[in-house]
């Protein structure tokens, strides 16, 4: 199964995302921000983390208007899976594909820390069969989700702490259909026992199963 890994100028995690896709048994195909179509044979899309366009204007704001996002939107509307991680989550919120927005962390500073996540909705293709708490690192400056948790489909919450100051300790949300999901923590950095945790593999595997 081929997972398109989207790359904007300033994207940082495309290599580790592609490595995680391969660890889950899939193939990763690069998708460049100026492309207007996803790579041939794309089954699922992964928008990895980083500082696309240097976070200029607002994190994710410029990337959400780049040519490749038209193709991502069509893929999502056709029911294809799209996962946004960190800056990818910010891009999906800025695109309107996911509800809410990501605000500056309550500490007003960058936070890099191993966190634990509760799975609050196991009904999406991403979270089916997942059991928390998952040990996964979070690392961002603007990762406090803001939105209405009574209408948004909240799939992941921080367990035991709310490190970024998100509304309701929300760590990840999905669209109503469940085929588009975003989260601030980095599951692609928790797929190798050498680095301390493999709890991120489940979320990445969902893309490969698509």
């Amino acid at each position: 199964m081929t997972v398109a890994v989207v790359r904007f100028p300033g994207t940082l995690d495309h290599d580790s995302a592609a490595r995680a896709v391969r660890a889950a048994g899939g193939d990763a195909a690069p998708a460049w921000h100026q492309d207007t179509e996803l790579p041939a044979g794309t089954h699922a899309v992964l928008i990895p983390g980083g500082f696309s366009y240097g976070d200029h204007l607002r994190p994710g704001a410029i990337a959400s208007r780049s040519p490749i996002m038209g193709a991502v939107r069509r893929h999502a509307e056709a029911g294809g899976l799209v996962l946004g991680i960190c800056n990818g989550f910010q891009v999906l919120c800025e695109s309107g594909l996911l509800p809410g927005a990501l605000r500056t962390n309550a500490s007003l500073s960058f936070v890099c820390r191993q966190v634990r996540l509760d799975v609050t909705d196991a009904g999406t293709p991403f979270t089916a069969g997942l059991e928390g708490p998952l040990s996964i690192p979070v690392k961002n400056h603007d990762g406090a989700w803001y939105g209405d948790p009574s209408t948004a489909r909240v799939v992941l919450r921080y367990h035991g702490e709310n490190p970024l100051g998100a509304v309701d300790a929300v760590a990840g949300v999905a669209n109503a259909a469940g085929n588009v999901m975003g989260l601030m923590p980095h599951p692609e950095e928790a797929v190798d026992p050498l680095l301390g945790s493999v709890d991120g593999l489940g979320l990445i595997s969902a893309l490969v199963r698509a």
Partner: protein, 724 residues
């Protein structure tokens, strides 16, 4: 100031000014004089330190790039080399800590990039005044934010470093940044321009008025009270462009599209281009009108010495030019042909049809003046009179107090502001003896550390130089890594005053002796002098960055206690002393001179024991002595221990004393005989057992104890509390 002749305003001595016409056969033009003033500054020419630096061992069978290029590199097998360098950005950070520290990171990254190497890790070695000073709190917090801002955005993990707080850095803070990268041994790029006729391509940001004269104004003179006037000398950071520059240059380097590559750092285009020409034995013709400017009306001298960031200069053949320009365009980076390589040997610059600079490139580089420094010894230090130091009545309370000293306290507040994981190769995270980073694409890892024994260097620089190198090697060996190469940043005061020159010479001698004993070459480095104000000189601060190789990344050892029931062992020799220790809190006394041979044997033993899987944890006893080492291992593992420590002169010295190469390790009880057998002549004593929720130490007839939960509160809470 305005009454002074131009050369003095620029920082040139009268003798240096007289030398220029002798070299070029006529009086210099104004732009030429400005270029000489920058290139002959201490920061660019090392004119006061060069003769002393020759003492360092710099060769070895695995050295593929020694000192003299933008960074050094060593072979790590399978056709790969690891590049490393540490550099200071002290003076800019004292004036504007956020941009000063941020651009320090940017500069060291480009030094690694100039070799064609992919940066894979950053470390930062920081020194500030104590946190009861509002100025020091400001410098510390803003420098950390600047480092995070830049490092996080360019996607290189900041995996380690150190922070020390002491009055002696109140006026002159230190911000040293180290970068490590990976490059194919057959793909290492050089700075030397090769072939007349080739194009010079400037890639990256526009050239502006920021950083004009940074090397001479800031980096080569003492700071005074009117530092605000110097703010225009500090550069402005743009990490997004740096990331694109990195992605673009690595793509082009891998394709073999560059004939040579140079980073624009101190003294900007002047330094980059003159070194390119002088090293290649060729000349360069630069058309200043082609250089994209940020503002109109810049004078030729300003264009030539601007330190605008995120710029690289490449030599490109005619055949590869279109490819280079196309790849830069895809990365949305400016790339401009600004001149050509010539056969004249001259640095020539034309501006609006007129030749404004035409001088031998080597006059700027090779003909820079070299000065000896006065070697006036400081009075010999005396060992501490222990009777004059009050002994703490309550050892347990003293232990907790020590854990909460900002210098020894947890640096979580710092490293959680840095992305230490990006790239998904960080095996051992900050907080331990050394970071361990997997080499991407290889089944190997490297351990990386920065260290310095600055108080020891102050009271006895020869031993302090040794101790600095030995601590770095011990930190690497605690993870199981074999020390491979070093880079150094020598931060000192004004070498023309007092005993500073002598201390510089002695520190280099001590470092060199230890490096030779370890078989570790220095492959790159940097010198930062004049770190003093009218009232204060910094400690001699020779920051050493060292890397070590781990053949099996999965076999690395951490500092955390693993399991109740494990045996605690004290390995190594040396008598703990309070002289110049963190417990004493000042540079007084005379620590014993390190036993270099014994320490090398300890390093070898640790590597062998880790390789055989005999160690479950290992932690160096450094600042705060064995008490702090035990508490840190317990906090990291979430399990305590009960130990019986060898009794010396006094219990507080036994617990908190420093010096000597000593390591607290743990092993499975069944492995103890094998560990003893492997130790041979290296002293090894079983001192207790892992378990419980407290760290209990018996020293002679006295007991001391800290609960892990209270130790953690003290250790983790200290820096946030000091900043609140």
């Amino acid at each position: 100031m305005s009454e002074q002749p131009l050369h003095r305003q620029l920082g040139l001595t009268d003798a240096e000014n007289d030398r220029i016409p002798e070299l070029i056969g006529r009086p210099p033009t104004d732009p030429e004089l400005v270029m000489f003033s920058l290139m002959w500054s201490e920061h660019c020419s090392y004119k006061h330190s060069k003769p002393l630096l020759r003492r360092f061992p710099t060769t070895g069978p695995h050295v593929v790039q020694g000192p003299g290029e933008n960074a050094g590199a060593v072979d790590v097998g399978d056709g790969w080399a690891v590049a490393l360098k540490v550099e200071s950005h002290n003076h800019p950070s004292a004036v504007e800590p956020f941009e000063g520290a941020a651009t320090g990171v940017g500069g060291i990254v480009r030094d690694i990039l100039a070799l064609g190497a992919k940066p894979i890790a950053l470390l930062d070695s920081l020194r500030f005044g104590t946190l009861d000073s509002a100025r020091s709190r400001h410098l510390f917090t803003r420098a950390v934010e600047g480092i995070g801002h830049y490092g996080n955005c360019i996607g290189i993990p900041t995996v380690g470093g150190e922070v020390l707080f002491d009055d002696r850095y109140e006026d002159s803070c230190l911000v040293n940044a180290m970068c490590v990268g990976m490059v194919r041994t057959d793909g290492i790029l050089k700075a030397a321009a090769r072939t007349p006729g080739n194009h010079l391509v400037l890639i990256g940001n526009r050239t502006g008025k920021d950083g004009i004269g940074g090397a001479s104004v800031l980096a080569s003179a003492e700071l005074s009270e009117d530092d605000a006037d110097k703010r225009p000398s500090v550069q402005v950071s743009d990490p997004f462009t740096e990331r694109k520059l990195m992605d673009c240059c690595l793509e082009l380097a891998a394709a073999g599209a560059f004939a040579a590559l140079q980073d624009l750092g101190a003294a900007g285009l002047t330094s980059a281009a003159s070194e390119m020409a002088a090293k290649g034995g060729v000349g360069l013709l630069i058309e200043l009108d082609r250089i994209p400017l940020r503002e109109e009306g810049m004078a030729p001298a300003e264009i030539l010495v601007s330190e605008s960031q995120e710029r690289m200069l490449a030599e490109v053949t005619a055949e590869r030019l279109d490819e280079v320009l196309a790849v830069c365009e895809r990365w949305e980076l400016l790339a401009t042909v600004i001149g050509t390589v010539t056969d004249t040997g001259n640095f020539t610059a034309v501006h609006r049809g007129a030749t404004v600079v035409d001088i031998p490139a080597s006059a700027l580089t090779d003909d820079a003046p070299v000065y000896g420094v006065p070697i006036d010894p400081a009075p010999a230090a005396e060992p501490l009179d222990l009777d004059a130091i009050p002994a703490p009545a309550d050892l347990s309370a003293a232990w907790l107090e020590l854990l909460a000293r900002p210098t020894l306290a947890s640096k979580r507040w710092v490293y959680e502001r840095y992305d230490h994981l990006v790239g998904a190769n960080t095996i051992r995270r900050p907080g331990g003896d050394a970071a361990v980073v997997r080499l991407p694409g290889m089944d190997r890892a490297i351990a990386i550390t920065t260290d310095c024994a600055e108080r020891h260097c102050e009271v006895e620089p020869l031993g302090g130089g040794m101790a600095t190198v030995l601590e770095a090697a011990r930190n690497l060996a605690c993870t199981g890594a074999r020390p491979l190469a070093a880079t150094d940043c020598l931060n000192f005061g004004n070498p023309e005053k007092g005993a500073t020159g002598w201390r510089l010479e002695r520190v280099i001698e001590g470092m060199s002796q230890a490096l030779e004993a370890l078989g570790v070459p220095v492959v790159s480095g940097n010198v930062s002098l004049y770190n003093e104000s009218p009232g204060r000189v910094i400690y001699p601060t020779p920051v050493v960055g060292m890397i070590g190789l781990l053949e099996d990344p999965a076999a690395s050892v951490g500092h955390a206690f693993q399991e109740a029931g494990d045996t605690v062992v004290l390995i190594g020799s040396g008598t703990p002393r309070l002289d110049a220790s963190e417990w004493l809190g000042r540079a007084e006394g005379l620590p014993p001179t390190p036993d270099v041979a014994a320490e090398v044997a300890l390093v070898e033993f640790l590597i062998a024991a880790a390789g055989k899987g005999l160690l479950r944890s290992a932690h160096d006893c450094s600042g705060g002595g064995i008490a702090v080492a035990l508490a840190e291992s317990a906090m990291a593992g979430g399990v305590g221990c009960e130990v019986n420590l060898p009794a010396g002169r006094r219990a507080d010295e036994d617990l908190f004393g420093e010096g000597g190469g000593r390591v607290v390790a743990t092993c499975h009880p069944a492995d103890l005989p094998a560990l003893r057998a492997l130790a041979g002549d290296v002293p090894l004593a079983a001192i207790g057992t892992v378990g419980g929720s407290t760290v209990d130490a018996r020293v002679g007839e006295r007991d001391a104890s800290v609960a892990i939960v209270r130790a953690r509160d003290a250790h983790e809470g200290a820096i946030p509390a000091a900043l609140a």
